[in-house]
Amino acid sequence: MKKGGMKEGSMKAPVTGGGAGGSWEHYVDDRPYPDPAAADAPATRFDAHASTGRLMLRRFLRHRLAVLGALFLGLSYLSLPFVDFLAPYGANERDVEHLYAPPQGVHLFHEGQFIGPFVYPTTGRPDLKDYRWRYETDTSRPMPLQFLCPGAPYRFLGLVESRVRLVCPPPGASLHLLGTDRLGRDMLSRLAIGAQLSLTVGLLGIAVSFAIGITLGGMAGYFGGWIDAGVQRLSEILKSLPELPLWLALSAAVPAQWSPVTVFLCISVILGLLDWPSLARAVRSRFLALREEDFVMAAELMGASPARIIRRHLLPNFASHLLASATLSIPAMILGETALSFLGLGLRPPATSWGVMLNDAQNLMAVETYPWVSLPMLPVILVVLSFNFFGDGLRDALDPYHGD
């Protein structure tokens, strides 16, 4: 169809619209034609005066999974300093009467009568035919739980010696809500205490990766030239190397006799050491774009030093984007720690982390007979998913003027 023909038709339609005496029927939309002036006018939103922060928050809250993830992560991280208080047992406290004990339930009613939270005592015996432990529950003797009671001593925040725990096993019975492992250590307590290392390893790693990535990426983007070329090549090469074998090689270099805390710090640094290239590239491309802006030129003319321009004028402009990308790369580090510890080259036994706990799950036989040994995978999955959802939501929310 020719352009001219179409134009003619559309112009004629309103003129003959509604005519009953025409030779053929045709239909015309009788709604008023939109005012062309209104279409060109700037779009007005009902919240045109809302601040950017408010728009971001509103946008973020609409992403339900992200809110859920943020709540879960917030709760987990906030409870980290108090896990010793919350956990009924210490991380390396052994209950030799209950090796590989199954999860115990907490009951409220005994024979139809309410007596508050209590557990039934269990006794184990080795089953020599199937070669495993079997546990019998004595349902005639309810044993009420104790609250805010003295348990195994611990150092609160590593400073204050304390024995008070939120909940303790009743004297003469045990309280293993998620069962025990090979050495009779309480799974729930170990999960909670292991979270301290597993959750912070990602934060420390990302801090290292940020420090390197922002410095190198910023330098490459701001100065350009051979610095830029060098950083670009190095990050390309590092990006093309498989991470895990290098992590393995690096953590094999950490001497076994070092203290758990030192090993933990080393592992965090190692995890961060290979993660910076993608960050550096993002920073660089942002710098390249922002460097041309007038406000940078103005600052330069006023005699600001490069460091000041980077710190005061460039970084704030994309700090939020960096935050989102950090949120998305923490899970990789948490998974990395888990894998390293699982292989025995990451954190080592007196230290407790989810990866160290999963080391026990290497034995397929144990997993089949005592499935609760592989429980630590649950928090790993939850945390990684939460970080992913949270990061996705954050990334969308940071750009509240774009899309809908």
Partner: protein, 343 residues
Amino acid sequence: MLRFILHRLLVMVPTLFVVSMLIFIVINLPPGDYLSNQIAELRATGQEAGLAKAEFLRHEYALDRPLAEQYLIWIGVWPGPNGFHGLLQGDLGWSFEFNKPVAAVVGETLWFTVILNLAAVLFVYLVSFPLGALAAIRANSWVDYLAAAVGYIGLATPNFLLALILLYYGQKWLGLPIGGLVDATYEDQPLSWAKVGSVLEHLIIPTIVIGLSGTAAMVRRLRANLLDELGKPYVVTAKAKGVPPLRRLTRYPLRMALNPFVSDIGSLLPSLVSGSVLISVVLSLPTIGPALLEALRAQDIFLSGFILMFISLLVLVGMLVSDIALALLDPRIRLGKARKAQS
């Protein structure tokens, strides 16, 4: 085109050089070396007999020289005690831990490593392409949600655990074999169809486990690209003109969305190879993964160094192939790169 490939090959040389240097530094980070540790141990236990041999090996493999010199001898550009004997000459060195040449230790496992990774790449593409395309065409339908759910599981589960779980249930419900790469009965048999079948059967679980997280990322990527493309005015025009749905999809949008799909192999390959190393250790597959772990633990530097080099080379070659494929697919890249190479 030839010029483009040549240029890419030339770029690989300095890259490999830097990579080899990084790897050599990393494997030499632990204090001491295998032989000096052994010598110390022999001294401590009073076994003077083995000392001479260890000292001889130490000299033979130039471990008594400065690190920079060791590196040059290792890659083969500096004369060692017996002239030029390095990676460039095809001499991979001696594995102290296994007490035989590195070439004999890794041997066949190199091929298995390549096969396993190829299978994983194939799996990723074969699964993620239809799934990603479907997820985009039927956005917000059950297919889309299913793809997203599978994707999140693949993303969040540590893959060694996934391997153990699949191994367990695959054996229990489907009778899939556990561990290894070929059934014990075929171990020393010549190649036959039955043997190939057995290898394929053994490859199922490792391939799925290694490929799953990559698949998840690819599905998300393809879905996003295709959705972007489908929202463009030219698609609306095609629809208005009455182009049938399938043709409307395959003619342009799918081809446009395919581009990043191919170039993404660059970020996919390192993680696949990483995964294959880990999974091989867990499932005891005869790839270089278990040997690497052993070598790193024992500070067997020539073995671990070669394996790390091989893994990196595998990734770099894979990227080269993907670049060439991309250039074949998209003339803009071919011409752009060639022009850049000329200038």
